[in-house]
Symmetry: D2
Subunit: 168 residues, 4 copies
């Protein structure tokens, strides 16, 4: 759904389309690896509009991303301990429905793409037990060393690279 | 620059292209109304990577947006006092270069688009005196009442609508 | 422990001392009602020192406070829905040991004091399964209406007042 | 004012009293070095109570503290560049009056105490041009190395120590 929605806004290349179709297909078959992170909305996350301030969603995505690494057997703290960082290159978030203090939310994180130096995750935020998502997002990351110079993950951390490839 | 960069990632419709060209043209002529917000990076805005955490950029964009309203003569608190809100529908941020504690940054905010119920702003973050931007972003907003139901700005706040149209 | 530690820094009035003794006594007997909130430290909560930024502790205390209300059968959202707010009057936090990204922490919240218009909570942050606490804190609150005018809780919400008194 | 207010809550030792009197005296004579930091309240800093969330005050204090270091000629980034950190040991904040979105505030930072390994700052938050303060606070810090082991500032950074002593 997220995908077809986004598709409306741009023309799809053949390659991109093929990847999207494969993803939907895998999801239907239950083969898509995803992490599910349950969070309770904090009072401090609201603003004077009475709803969650939009700057908190990327923080929730991040919590989901960390759980995704754990799920596939790659510890994010372990990665950083080896001197490899994963800063953001791009963030996108679509806000469909307001989220309020005290609500429980479920962040579903999926690995969307992986290349030599970049990795992309996509996220959907749900109310538990409700299929309609409240928000969705994408983060694109570069793998870098501690000076923020890009590194090839396959060389720097071949094991993590393999775990990610299998989770695609 | 931001625009051509983004253009690379998608195909441009004729209409979109025309708007982009007009915008670049206006900017060159110095006719584009923009707000410039000077901020000092806070320690609390950094993370353990040693750089600013990505979730702070939307907060800086917001500060820029508020200054934009002030610049065109429309007070944002005044708008909210009349029961009209401007929640986000979409956020996009591109991180070009890390930003660090203590640095001064300049947020340049421009009104990108305005329609019956939506309004789009675009942002570029600079180091003062340096033309190369460190980050750029877009926020898309819906005008709503206090129950978050969409309203037509032209009807709800005709004066604000006019000020925005003139700033385009 | 928290209490004796703090005691070192000031002279105790007889009344205060009696209350502290009763509290320690109740805790030993397992009669002290407390809420335990388990949290995982978020990446965004760290700063460039590599540890959690101190401004996040009050947010964790708040999460603990909300769980405390739930534990005694008083919903905080329910309280606000009736137009009663609980803003802070005072915050105190003691940082004993650094807390890092990815760690699990346990916030133990206790009602410390309740009077006509004020309510005080105290907090201790632990690593699960470790009795040595990492931080402790106190928040003092005023019960107010939506214009932030003080109200007497016993009159405004007698049921909530009773639930709190029993939890003391 | 802040001081006498706080004084009500505890008994004063002779030594503490003498220090407080000297401080008030210096302030009257205009000899007390203080940094004044002007900030505009951000929308993201509010919560659903419609006022600034209490967890933002320590972040404002921090901004004030950084300006204090700059004012006395000691760069905080310079200190960290030499491997010395200044984590918090204790935070205290008193909230006198709600602060709202869009308001301008002035953080007045004063060095309150300095010993071999600890340093204490005190803060008052004002509306510019209004002598009545909206909030006040204290932060106590330890000087440490990058492993968070305490260091004696006088030995580690004698020049910074001297600048601080003169600012007392």
């Amino acid at each position: 759904m997220l995908r077809t929605k986004r598709a409306a806004g741009r023309m799809y290349s053949r390659k991109l389309l093929r990847r999207e179709v494969r993803k939907i297909y895998k999801r239907w078959l239950g083969l898509l690896i995803s992490a599910e992170t349950l969070l309770t909305v904090r009072y401090a996350e609201t603003d004077r509009m009475g709803i969650v301030h939009h700057s908190n969603y990327p923080i929730w995505f991040e919590a989901g991303r960390m759980d995704f690494f754990q799920k596939i057997g790659a510890s994010y703290t372990g990665i950083e301990a080896q001197g490899i960082l994963l800063p953001l290159v791009r963030l996108q978030c679509d806000y469909k429905q307001a989220i309020r203090f005290g609500e429980q939310i479920l962040v579903r994180t999926v690995l969307a793409k992986i290349s030599a130096v970049k990795t992309e995750f996509s996220y959907e935020i749900y109310q538990p037990g409700n299929e309609k998502f409240l928000a969705s997002g994408v983060t694109v990351h570069a793998w870098t060393d501690q000076n923020l110079k890009p590194v090839a993950l396959a060389k720097a951390l071949p094991k993590v690279y393999e775990l990610l490839r299998q989770a695609l």
